[in-house]
């Protein structure tokens, strides 16, 4: 495994080294060009750090602009790559240490958007609360870099490093507000829990490595199934070991060896997988590992809370999907009695119940949103279980599924992963808007985050209240907002799976969504129908937060209205999710594109018939034949504006409009 992460001047053309015998350095450069968005973010974090150290005081604006420039470049690179035919099958870079595939690129776009939004409103917030510090932008970039490593991870080592890079930067951001006693306390709580979960994660990885002898994800998915094959093969010898009478001594010895060798890997693998699962559940803050969440969210500066609620969740779910939906997909690991899905399913139910019931009791908006984010994790985990069940279920004994049934199951699994991605992006957008609003209210070291301080907000600041309402409605799951379609897609996927337990949990989830409406609506009602406070609490100077809030509200609606187009993007990202980067995955994507072409051609024909015209010419285009063509998957024209992946380009536009 060779790799070099760092600021190497990028080759202008990826093709420069093609054709020649690839030397190690040429290969490394080509790999870095494939990883352009990540590399730009990494280099930019260093540039911004140096700029902070060497800039004269009073250049904070410049630093913010510089950071946004870097993020913009990274977004451009990612937009150019996402959907490009070159990445259909996924590309392994740095000898399989990282993958570049559509999934990773979509997550990249999402996290870059989150980072851009946080950078936009954090500066104003920090200035207004008098703890401006120049490292903030750099830390955001480093955490973004960590999330991107997670999205691209092709190896357990990369996964561990990604989680740590992300977490360490966020610990610092949480504790950075030195003029508040709550901020370092929140940082310490978050740090202790985070470090503890890193320990669990590492031990889990060590055990998985011990059981299989590999760390690469695609070898791992293969080795994991051999572990269970060996285990089953050893079962025959167990009888000999248990009742050695009547067998020759030599055979008993041999049987003991066989049993030991066959059972040992499984005995390492199952605890290892559970430890890794526990660590990741910590990171996504699922019950019973959620206790740190409200404290850390409340004590952290609001822009950092926004990053934790949106960015860290995206990263942790990317890791969870990669590992548990993409890699450990063996019937024995997914299903009872040794599988994790049944446990996680009930944890998901507990997570949403606990999150929602605790949120109802909250009088602090930040804590309320923290518990609501816990509840959302519960809904998302239902989707994760559904996806894993589609991929990993074994047929009942004696039943041989047909090729069609196999294809159906893997398609359904891909759709479930796409639903999770859609939900994550819709949730991230809405929660960013909500926290932008929280950060905007209050000034001079005093945040206005108590719920009663929000009463009558609509009379003082109608625009802000409207934006916040849209974001809250999206979080609540009101059509036509993105949050509604996210819930719809995830629950539909879960319901499609035949298992009774999943269906019961879906019903619980729907009931929970209704409970959730209580506290979201209560806040909205108090904003609109209560008299405003006597004294003005003031707000943060600067346009950042209102712009982000407006963009988030607009995007929430757009994601909802353009749900089809957005879902198509997510389907593209998740096509062949379980298949490691290869030709086979590229074929899956091609199939998907062919289906879309066909459907669109039919739609065109129908429309043309209705208008009494000839069938349109669009159907003539063939995918895959023009490798240089940019990845614009054809989308209905009406939905096209919302189809930018739910991320920065649209926000950048909104910035121009708002500014």
């Amino acid at each position: 495994m060779t790799f070099a992460l760092g600021p190497v001047p990028l080759l202008p053309e990826p093709a420069a080294a093609a054709g020649q015998a690839t030397t190690a350095s040429a290969q490394a450069l080509v790999d870095m060009v494939h990883l352009a968005p990540m590399m730009i973010v990494g280099i930019w974090s260093l540039i911004v750090l140096v700029a902070d150290a060497f800039a004269r005081p009073g250049l904070r604006r410049f630093q913010q602009t510089l950071t946004l420039l870097g993020l913009g470049l990274a977004v451009l690179a990612a937009v150019g790559q996402f959907g490009h035919y070159e990445y259909d099958g996924g590309i392994e870079v740095f000898s399989g240490f990282l993958y570049v595939d559509q999934f990773a690129l979509l997550v990249d776009l999402g996290i870059l958007g989150v980072a851009g939004a946080v950078v936009l409103f954090a500066g104003d917030y920090n200035r207004s609360h008098r703890f401006e510090y120049g490292e903030h932008e750099s830390l955001v970039l480093i955490a973004t870099f960590g999330v991107m490593i997670l999205a691209h991870a092709g190896d357990l080592v990369a996964l561990f490093l990604g989680i740590e890079t992300m977490s360490i930067a966020v610990y610092v951001m949480v504790g950075a507000r030195w003029n508040s006693r709550q901020s370092p306390e929140a940082a310490l709580k978050y740090f202790v829990m985070g470090a503890f979960s890193s320990g669990l994660l590492l031990m889990g990885i060590a055990l998985v490595y011990g059981a299989t002898g590999v760390t690469g994800l695609d070898q791992l998915s293969h080795e994991v199934s051999t572990v269970f094959t060996k285990w089953r093969a050893a079962q025959d010898y167990v009888a000999v070991v248990e009742a050695p009478e009547g067998f020759p001594a030599g055979m008993v010895d041999m049987a003991q060896d066989k049993v030991a060798l066959g059972i040992a890997p499984a005995a390492l693998l199952i605890p290892g997988v559970l430890l890794v699962l526990g660590a990741l559940l910590f990171k996504v803050s699922a019950v019973p590992f959620h206790m740190w969440t409200p404290d850390a969210y409340e004590g952290a500066p609001s822009p950092t809370t926004a990053f934790m609620a949106a960015g860290v969740k995206i990263g942790a779910f990317a890791a969870l999907l990669k590992l548990f939906v993409g890699t450990f997909i063996v019937g024995s690991l997914v299903q009872a009695p040794y599988g994790w899905t049944s446990v996680v399913l009930w944890l998901a139910a507990a997570t949403m119940i606990v999150g929602n019931l605790a949120a109802v009791r909250q009088t602090n908006v930040k804590r309320l949103l923290a518990y609501s984010s816990v509840a959302h994790v519960g809904y998302l985990l239902v989707g994760v279980v559904a996806a894993a069940s589609f991929y990993g279920d074994r047929p009942a004994k004696g039943y041989l599924p047909t090729a069609d049934e196999h294809a159906w199951a893997s398609n359904a699994g891909d759709t479930a992963v796409a639903s999770i991605l859609y939900y994550l992006l819709a949730y991230a957008v809405a929660t960013l808007g909500a926290f932008a609003c929280v950060s905007w209210l209050g000034r001079d070291k005093k945040e206005a985050s108590a719920a009663h301080e929000w009463s009558g907000l609509a009379q003082r600041h109608p625009g802000i209240a409207l934006g916040m309402t849209v974001c809250l409605l999206s979080l609540m799951g009101m059509p036509p907002m993105g949050g509604f379609f996210g819930k719809l897609f995830v629950f539909r996927s879960a319901f499609e799976h035949g298992s009774e337990a999943l269906r019961i949990v879906v019903v619980i989830a729907v009931v929970n969504s209704v409970i959730g409406a209580v506290y979201y609506l209560r806040l909205i009602v108090s904003m609109y129908f209560r008299p405003p406070l006597e004294r003005d609490l003031g707000h943060v100077e600067g346009r950042g937060a209102p712009v982000v809030l407006a963009a988030a509200a607009a995007l929430s609606v757009l994601i909802g209205i353009g749900a089809d187009a957005m879902m198509q993007r997510c389907r593209l990202a998740s096509a062949g999710f379980r298949i490691p980067p290869s030709e086979a995955r590229a074929e899956r994507v091609d199939e998907l594109r062919a289906q879309w072409e066909q459907r669109e051609a039919e739609a065109d024909r129908k429309a043309a018939q209705e208008e009494g015209q000839q069938p349109g010419q669009k159907a003539g285009q063939q995918p895959g034949q023009q490798p240089d063509e940019k990845a614009q998957v054809e989308v209905p024209a009406a939905a096209a504006p919302s189809a930018e992946g739910g991320t920065p380009p649209a926000e950048a536009e909104a910035l121009d409009d708002g500014g």
Binding site: M1, F160, A206, Y209
Partner: protein, 100 residues
């Protein structure tokens, strides 16, 4: 040659000591040390497995872990220092500004 089980006994002992330390001890510095014990227990397991399987992947991860643990300890200590500049003890139960 020392069999791998011995390494695993050591690794799991260290890991469990660290685990219990994080869960039971209330002094922040001891909690930090316990986290280090957990990471290093895992490290020993990684290196032992690496030798057992005859490939270097585990050792590579162990190297990274050492660096990550140092960075984590540095950040953790910095947070502790920033909290206890204004306080006297380092007891984790004294932190009660944030609660329901």
């Amino acid at each position: 040659m020392v069999p791998i089980t011995h390494f695993l006994y050591l690794a799991s002992t260290l890991f469990v000591i660290g685990l219990l330390g994080v869960m039971l001890r209330r002094n922040v510095l001891i909690v930090l040390m316990s986290v280090e014990l957990m990471l290093n227990g895992a490290n020993i397991a990684l290196v032992a497995f690496s030798r057992f399987h005859g490939n270097l992947d585990g050792q590579v991860l162990a190297m990274f872990t050492i660096a990550v643990a140092a960075a984590e300890a540095a950040v953790g200590l910095a947070i502790v220092v920033s909290i206890f500049r204004s306080r006297t003890g380092s007891d984790i139960d004294d932190l009660s500004l944030l609660r329901d």
